[in-house]
Symmetry: C3
Subunit: 309 residues, 3 copies
């Protein structure tokens, strides 16, 4: 399949063939990180910029490692260390960086749509590393890869996504991609954290955790933004944890081969108990490991060059 | 021409032959950034430190990309992330870094003269990445390269530099270099932002923007530091913009082939209108692109090794 | 000697044979930084993470340069730029980073024992880059290398360590390693900055600087944390400096071939005078230069691969 997409902005615009192809390419990069010498010359002489307007360890580091294992030159630009403090517009920052002959700009930004805006104004390829409450496509794609790696397939699997659906770009990107791949998606959380229009995305909706656990092949727990408490969207962390925290006790009702996922970073003892996060059915560290491979695949697909040898 | 200079501290000390030579070497590096594989082995095994005491996206990134495309090891040290918070003196920080067998230190510092101080105390080569209100030689050299690239020559061209001349290291470095190259320089801005002794630099001075626009081959607009308003040096941004902002209307009086430059980051709608900044006569993104090549040239000239292949 | 240690957590657990071997390996890497091309392919395709929870120029830069000269991919993660702000636990941060197939994690952390905790939970090798008031083993090892380089031997040498012994991880790691290597160690400082149990470490203790200077082959001056004054542990910087600051006058009583060391960054005029810090008997910059080589040696020993060619 020839890959002709120039930017990775969201999973909403991807069809099943494209998603499958990206996961297939990811497969070949998973192996690279298990080698004695974890480096291929694929993107030698290419320049990748990580333009992060929000702090992030895991996503920025994952992209940086992915780029370096492909031999690209990777440059980090963070809002706090940049002339953004001087009030330069996003557009000017991006056009300036692109003018330095940059091949790929990975952007994380608190404003929904920022990567799409960028993609219209720069000649570089743009990867959305998370924009506002909109999309986080690389997270969803690595999640799908991780599920497929374990289950062998995607279509027909039942997924329950638990938590703050309304504000989660991870949930949105996963819902789009999972529906496209023929998965059965249920979302579950307190009513105050469920978006009004969510049924229109083709998912089942509920507020009862036990029901969401009962028939799920995969339970995806979302991080609770602790600020939600201050804004009154949840009564207290304690109550949230009692109603929606995933514990061993709660898991007793789950399928014996249920798989647990979380995009991280986890709030131990809030939305997930340590025993569950580190249990044998937990894919949390697989998600992290596969994230590097998925990002290598995307950088390779966008910036060209030969594949892994 | 054998290049024997050890440091790049300012354009004031450079003669025309040296500037011409640097621009010639830049020429050969411009091509590298247009290649499929934008990387040459010129500085393999050399170490470059970006020591930035002021935040900067573009200059730091430009040097980092330049170093990496030359295959150098580039290390960023920023004041906020460094033990500078522990109160270590500039001299000790620099001597420490240099003791790690560093070939080139690029320094940006709010104190005029800091790079010169450094150059007296460390064995490494030092490049001034901007010091206080004193000099920003790499900006001026990339500006000259950009003009020469478009006009084919420098001598005899008329340049008007508009804005806060008094506090601009970009203006100072450009005035020195342009006068040395036989260009006719005029500076223009509100009287409160014109330095007292500026005629002694061999430039014409005025406060009337229309006069400065009229016969210019190149109009270089400076960034207005928004803090100037608070210190009372300008009455208001609005008034500044009305009197000295470069707009399409204002440009009607300019030569038909006038070229517009700005060192960035721009304040859209303050010193320059978006239409002018993005117009066909604007060289702003050329300046950025050439900045990488000029810095590659300087790193190559200082740290030796073979040229681009 | 086969090197079987997986982590470098402290000098307390090392015996004389191991320390000697590390210093021998360091010897071969000292030469690399003097080459025209300061880069060997030893760790190509290996990933090193600098995980710094405290700001640091010199240690972070030293590890970064060491890793890059070995051709490793080096990733910096600092607390301020990371999701640590989101409250992620150290364990989860480390497990996440390790899941990205990271070979070595260098950690600096304000909590004593943090590197040991990490080493129990991640598959990567861990190097302690300084933990609380506990250990800073790479500093002690580079100090020993520097002494051995100058004196040819370690056993029997007399060392006086001056300053805030109670809170110094540098002092602790040096005391362990120096005692193991058969050196005669004396510590000296105001009573409020001497730990209660220090004699049990096999060192002599005193509060009189002149006595500590008199028969020392090496005087190691510690950095005074300026916060000590606020907490009442010293009456004033001025008084501290008069009683414990190492000056040329004070040095008149020292052996003619005494050597002066300081881990940096120095407080000029507080614990050491500029004349002493920059005098001919000062090893301060040798310590910095050897630090890169020592860290190259440790990264090589932990992450395998062929040695320097």
């Amino acid at each position: 399949m020839p890959f002709t997409r120039k930017h990775i902005l969201g999973t909403q615009e991807m069809d099943a063939a494209e998603i499958s192809y990206i996961l297939d390419v990811t497969e070949s990069f998973v192996e690279v990180s298990t080698r004695e010498i974890k480096r291929v010359p694929t993107l030698r002489g290419k320049t990748v910029i990580n333009l992060f307007y929000e702090p992030s360890t895991r996503t920025r580091t994952s992209f940086e490692i992915a780029g370096k294992r492909l031999s690209a030159d990777v440059i980090n630009v963070s809002a706090s260390a940049s002339s953004v403090v001087k009030g330069e517009s996003l557009k000017d920052t991006a056009m300036t960086l692109a003018a330095m002959a940059v091949d790929v700009i990975v952007i994380r930004h608190p404003a929904s749509g920022a990567p799409h805006f960028l993609a219209r104004h720069v000649p570089s390829s743009v990867i959305n590393g998370g924009d506002g409450t909109h999309e986080h496509p690389t997270q969803a794609l690595l999640d799908l890869y991780t599920i497929r790696q374990r289950k062998g397939t995607l279509a027909g699997l039942r997924v329950s996504i638990i938590g703050d659906i309304a504000h989660s770009r991870v949930a949105r990107s996963n819902i789009f991609a999972m529906r496209t791949m023929g998965m059965d998606v249920r979302v579950c959380g307190p009513a105050s954290l469920l978006p009004l229009e969510v049924e229109s995305l083709g998912v089942r909706v509920g507020t009862d955790l036990d029901a969401a656990i009962g028939d799920a092949d995969i339970i995806m727990v979302l991080r609770l933004q602790l600020e939600r408490q201050e804004t009154g969207l949840i009564p207290s962390l304690r109550e949230y944890s009692q109603l929606y925290g995933l514990t061993l006790k709660r898991l007793e009702q789950a399928k014996p081969d249920v798989l647990i996922m979380h995009p991280g970073p986890i709030n131990r003892g809030v939305e997930i108990s340590p025993e569950v996060a580190e249990g044998p059915y937990s894919l949390i560290l697989d998600q992290v490991a596969n994230g590097v491979a998925l990002r290598m695949a995307l950088l390779y697909l966008l910036a060209g060059g030969p594949g892994p040898e």
